[in-house]
Symmetry: C2
Subunit: 208 residues, 2 copies
DNA sequence: CAAGAATATGAGCGATCATTCGCGTTTGAA
DNA sequence: TTCAAACGCGAATGATCGCTCATATTCTTG
């Protein structure tokens, strides 16, 4: 049997009690990351905040990185649920309208928990979760690509893979920068403007 | 006198000998970041690789972060020199042609030292150099905005600040992702395609 | 209820690391 | 040539941190 990567859970929690422990640990990790930063997120501190002993922590997470990875997973799954749900409603719409909604979705996804999102974006390199990050990106590309394929006749781009890359990257960067680095400069009504601009950017690129 | 921030040099190097020491330290830091990663970049190791004692290190850099900050500064200045130089040649060109060159410039800037660029991009959060990063971004926005102002009549965007944000963000993200996360999937000839697409994306957004 | 399995505990080990300090060496100015 | 200032040295310090292990408590099953 292949050895589990060191970032995966050490063992499954089977009883309700231990599931609560695991939840408390992940939750505590997220809270500390947001409120105190990565450097303060020592295993001892995490256990303390979770109201659990370090020993218990190591029953379920082989390394500190595994804990952060769990937080990342949880957050990304939450985002993907949002995106998938809303994307389904958009599949039938024409490019203009669809893109507008997609930009809005991206913005919404970034606002699920902006501070956590920011910390995670910054600290992913530290955890070596590039692979997970890739998978997450891939999933986004594919979701968008599915839309493009369905509306091939409305767009002038031949290489759909390239088009997905360009569009998703652009939308992602716009919303990311807007929410994470410019949130003070961009009050709620400016968000509307941002959606307008993002839509124009992508539609202009796609439409025949 | 205001206390110097802890990331600034502790004292100036006045003799040639000490300037060499400082250079060796910054260079060693960069090398270690690229070849061994941030975690291996302990002050002791940096001094060792620089062929210098830890004591000397602390004569010029008050903290480990100050060293990394110095590396970041050096790299960003190098990029800004590249961008400023090439941008001057583009100021008179019409939008289509200018944007194409700008995308090419961004790509070139990212390829000055991609591996260092990547490590720095990843580790900036760890050094708390957000401020420097902001200044760097601002400078890029302003450079691009200067171009837009000069060609106001060729573009359909009213808010130039917003337009700079959108364009620079999009170009940055495209080249960044392409070079750092897709370099294997994007051989040299695909870079041409990337420039085409980036140009189309931005021109479509800007042009009347 | 008995007993083994699952879960929880937390003191403490070993390793790493940033930083200091007392002292030796080199340089440049007088 | 002299000497003070600049520069360089590296063993040692103190603090932090990830992680283990011997032990205790709680749950489940028969």
């Amino acid at each position: 049997m292949a050895r589990r990567a060191a970032v995966n859970p050490r063992k499954e929690a089977s009883q309700a009690r231990s599931r609560a422990t695991v939840d408390a640990l992940v939750e505590a990790t997220a809270r500390i990351l947001v409120r105190e930063g990565f450097d303060k997120a020592s295993t001892n501190r995490i256990a303390e905040v979770a109201g659990v002993s370090v020993g218990s922590l190591y029953q379920y997470f082989p390394t500190k990185e595994a804990l952060v990875a769990a937080v990342i997973d949880r957050h990304q799954q939450q985002i993907l649920r949002t995106v998938r749900g809303e994307l389904a409603e958009v599949m039938a719409e024409p490019v203009e309208k669809a893109v507008r909604k997609l930009v809005a979705i991206a913005l919404k996804a970034h606002r699920v928990d902006p501070r956590l999102h920011r910390v995670l974006a910054e600290q992913i390199p530290r955890v070596g979760r590039f692979e997970k990050q890739e998978t997450f990106s891939r999933e986004n590309y594919d979701l968008f690509r599915a839309y493009l394929e369905k509306h091939r006749d409305e767009i002038r781009v031949a290489d759909l893979e390239m088009a997905s890359f360009v569009c998703v990257t652009a939308i992602e960067a716009l919303t990311h920068n807007a929410v994470l680095h410019r949130s003070k400069a961009l009050p709620d009504d400016a968000m509307e403007t941002l959606i307008d601009e993002g839509t124009r950017l992508v539609t202009g690129y796609l439409k025949r």
